[in-house]
Symmetry: C2
Subunit: 221 residues, 2 copies
DNA sequence: TAAATAGTGTCTATAAGACAATATATG
DNA sequence: CATATATTGTCTTATAGACACTATTTA
């Protein structure tokens, strides 16, 4: 029975060379919100635009491979990769058997300018996430999953990815949520949902005209 | 610059042999609900209990590897694997560099008896999912993720995994949800939530005493 | 004071949850 | 009829969303 043969192989001390092994890559949707638009980092290659990615090296976790690829290809540092899904169709990559583990990373809009400067030899191309067509193989699907995951996390929390700074007005938070959700949200209902997650400060941010808005910080959670 | 070298490698026609590659395995939490308990399939090995799993073979998708491992090790057929997460800690397996892609599979309680018979040489050990301790490496974490994923899908749908048969009473559905959620649910609120997802039939299931319950089927969704 | 933005009070429609009443079976 | 289970009606309370009102700033 083949089940016995399989078990015997797994109990042996060096069974790993008995099998052909796949190459494992990571591909990452780097998202930010800037000027009321949800943006993603795309890099050009021969066949079109793609998400930044790399092969995973020995002794490296997937998350570290993501960090390495973003540092090298987009000059992005200090982020927290979230795993989304493994894409494993046997012939999705014509170079051979390559699985890709899709990831999501978010970058605060405030650090986008720094990011561009850091990758000195590489243009860091931010694109509107909703206008990103013609991506290679399954990268459009990765982008959709990333946006949906971001939406899900912002549906229940004020700013889990700290896309705003430490202090922000409720209207800035509202515009962030509207951009991520892709729809208008009632301001008064929104306030009531967010207030108990936030801490009011003594400071205010004056606008060009009108009553200055109270600044808030994140709660202890 | 190392980014350039990396790009050159990826554009070459046979770059896949330049890197050491990981072994990729699948491990699956097979869940069912039987007699008011959430149960999981565990198989014994030298270090303790573990979830059924196998290495992924060349030319095979992750889902197919899951199906093969369940057929061989537990006699389970006709299921639909759902991907949960990749476990990738570099030294999680002392045989070498092994990543494991965790999966969730559900089996209707009605087919559990058949499943046991089908694996003629293998005892199919169902265990209470909440009493499953002492699992090898990260399998306890996989089980937690599987249970949470199952709970999430039953929070919004009547019986997405078809754990009940084609016809069932609302009280049978209520007991299923209570077992999965791990808490009591109000019966009248539950009815109102479920009714519009279900189709009432002309049939009834008589109990030992009392008014026979109406049988329902799933809606068109 | 006029205009603009920030923040709050209140009303209504809807949904959740608990409780009670009704319906239909067995013995 | 007594009892047990199924099913529905209704009441209370909480929440969502819309609207309008108040507050505070600049010009």
């Amino acid at each position: 029975m083949s089940a016995n043969r399989d078990s015997a192989q797994k109990r042996a001390s060096a069974p790993l060379t008995d099998f052909e092994r796949p190459s494992v890559a990571v591909d990452t949707a780097v998202l930010t919100v800037a000027d009321g638009a949800l943006c993603v980092v795309l890099v050009p290659n021969a066949e079109g635009w793609r998400l930044p990615g790399t092969f995973v090296h020995a002794g490296e976790t997937l998350a570290l491979a993501v960090l390495r690829s973003l540092r090298q290809k987009a000059g992005i540092e200090g982020v927290h990769p979230r795993q989304l899904h493994v894409f494993d169709a046997p012939h999705r990559d014509d170079r051979g058997w390559v699985m890709s583990v899709a990831h999501l990373v978010t970058v605060p809009a405030a650090s986008v300018a720094d990011t561009v400067l850091a990758g000195s030899t590489v243009l860091t191309p931010w694109h509107d996430a909703h206008d990103a067509h013609d991506l290679v193989c399954d990268h459009a699907q990765i982008l959709r999953m990333a946006v949906e995951t971001l939406r899900q996390s912002y549906r229940t929390h004020a700013d889990p990815d700290r896309l705003l700074g430490t202090e922000f007005t409720l209207y800035e938070l509202l515009r962030l949520h509207e951009t991520i959700a892709g729809e208008r949200l009632g301001k008064d209902t929104f306030r009531r949902h967010m207030r108990d997650q936030l801490v009011e400060t003594d400071s205010h941010r004056p606008g060009v005209v009108g009553k200055p808005a109270t600044l808030f910080r994140h709660g202890s959670s």
